[in-house]
């Protein structure tokens, strides 16, 4: 009961500030929190990154290993992108099978990478229809303060950029690891996800947990290096006007450009 009252008070406070063009943490409406990217944090993985977006923190590891291709996709490597919120990241997360929120998070991060065609999967075939390279990108949220979508996305992209692909020879139709020889992953473009929240009539970029608690709706837009819009997911219990959706796409492009510059430094 109390939490309902407090949520209401918080929303009033946040809305008051928004009317003055301000946010609780002093940011402008279209301003992201500081983004810190560190790669190579898990040396045993083929690639890894630790990303802090404000107080939200994610660790992503990339594992690369031979696999069988999916049926009917024998000319492509495998790309699997997951995300989970560790129970130590948030007092409300319970261990166990993933909630629908976590499944959505993982699938939105996955689509951002898949739909931009960041990685040229055709270059990951070892023997057509039989053996391919699989890239597994697993993100773990270790501290949650809102906007897990972007934090996981940046960590996933950074981890891929930092990774090296082992070389495999083919012996008796089976891949055999060639020690000490690696290559960079075949990256074609850099996907950048930008998540925005609508509170009343205001659109804010990169919402914190407090802002998410009182937002009306949410949208995540992923753009590629060419400035195209490649993936989008609306969430939350209310909607957007068409004008707001136009505005969101523009914000996603302009904010995305800044982030992309950060990511390009990892290449």
């Amino acid at each position: 009961m109390e939490s309902v009252i407090i949520d209401k008070l918080k929303r009033d406070k946040i809305l008051d500030l928004l009317k003055q063009g301000k946010r609780l943490d002093g940011r402008a409406l279209d301003e992201q929190r500081p983004l810190i990217i560190e790669t190579g944090v898990i040396p045993k993985a083929n690639g890894s990154a630790r990303v802090k977006l404000g107080n939200t923190e994610v660790i992503t590891g990339v594992k690369i290993q031979p696999d069988k291709p999916f049926p009917d996709l024998g000319d492509k490597g495998i790309l699997i992108c997951t995300a989970e919120i560790l129970p130590l990241a948030d007092p409300h997360v319970e261990p166990g099978p993933p909630s629908e929120d976590v499944i959505e998070l993982a699938r939105v991060v996955d689509r951002g990478i898949r739909e931009t065609e960041m990685i040229d999967l055709h270059q990951l075939v070892l023997i057509e229809n039989k053996s391919v390279v699989g890239i597994f990108i697993d993100s773990s949220v270790i501290d949650s303060d809102g906007n897990l979508f972007d934090a996981c996305s940046y960590a996933s992209v950074s981890a891929v950029l930092s990774s090296t692909i082992p070389k495999y020879d083919i012996k008796d139709e089976a891949p055999v690891l060639v020690e000490g020889v690696t290559s960079k992953p075949p990256v074609k473009t850099l996907p950048v996800s930008v998540t925005m929240a609508r509170i009343d009539d205001y659109i804010i970029v990169d919402p914190t947990k407090d802002e998410e608690a009182c937002m009306d709706a949410r949208i995540t837009i992923t753009t590629n290096s060419a400035g195209n819009i490649c993936a989008l997911q609306k969430g939350g219990g209310d909607g957007f006007s068409v004008d707001q959706l136009f505005k969101c796409s523009e914000m996603a492009l302009s904010v995305g450009t800044k982030i992309r510059k950060k990511l390009e430094q990892l290449m």
Binding site: M1, R111, G227, I229, L253
Partner: protein, 238 residues
């Protein structure tokens, strides 16, 4: 590979770029559900049944301050080319969430604290755009229960195929086309309550695509309206 568009702009199923597939909706098709609808949307065949507002079990999941909405989008094993495992996939769980969030703005759940309204959608045969068709049926099924609603919800996708923006992407276009953008609106307020995008669009195309989809939603709305009128104000149906 299928040729998705002829030189004079006719799509692989014979439609123009701005043309919907055939849609038919029947309301009140189930006896046990409090509200129900059946939609055929192209080759999609989808059933929606709603129970509620009703008591929540287990009770600790009830919310003192508002009613809750649950939604389950499920595909029959025989609905797709390769037999589908009946257990819900991650894709189905995500779509269930997206549909719930698309319907929620149309409901006034605060008026029904401690209750749940359950929307069950079964895709009997899947074609491109099944989530939009599911949503169209679910909104009508909700209306069929008599629960007060702010508005209906009408959904339709647009997309990019053979470098053109097209309305209502079918299965082949979804598989081999360039972009798919499912959209739902509340037709009276114009609010967009569902929107997703997979594929690559320029900024301009994005805007055109969204407006194309909304145009489709408005056409769907007319069909939904007619189905409800037929059910409630005309005789001898069902």
């Amino acid at each position: 590979m299928t040729q998705l568009m002829s030189e004079d702009g006719i799509r692989c199923d014979g439609r123009r770029v701005d043309q919907l597939r055939n849609i038919s909706i029947r309301v009140g098709v189930l006896n046990n559900a409090d509200g129900s609808a059946y939609i055929e949307f192209g080759k999609n065949k989808i059933l929606a049944g709603v129970f509620g507002p009703r008591d929540v079990h287990p009770k600790h999941m009830a919310n003192q301050d508002t009613g809750i909405l649950r939604c389950r989008y499920h595909m029959s094993p025989f609905s797709v080319t390769e037999r589908k495992n009946p257990a819900p996939s991650r894709r189905e769980i995500e779509i269930s969430k997206v549909l719930k969030e698309a319907l929620q703005p149309a409901l006034i759940l605060k008026d029904f604290p401690r209750t749940v309204t359950d929307v069950f959608v079964e895709v009997l045969q899947a074609d491109g755009g099944s989530r939009c068709a599911a949503l169209d049926a679910a909104a009508v099924a909700l209306a069929d229960t008599g629960i007060p609603m702010r508005d209906l919800v009408s959904a339709c996708a647009a997309g990019k195929v053979a470098d053109r923006i097209v309305l209502d992407v079918n299965n082949e276009e979804d598989q081999e086309g360039q972009a798919d953008m499912p959209v739902a609106i509340m037709p009276n307020s114009g609010k967009v309550t569902l929107m997703q995008l997979d594929g690559i669009l320029t900024s301009e195309e994005y805007k055109t695509c969204l407006q194309t989809a909304i145009g489709g939603c408005r056409q769907v709305y007319e069909i939904q309206r007619r189905a409800l009128i037929e059910r409630y104000f005309e005789s001898g149906v069902q």
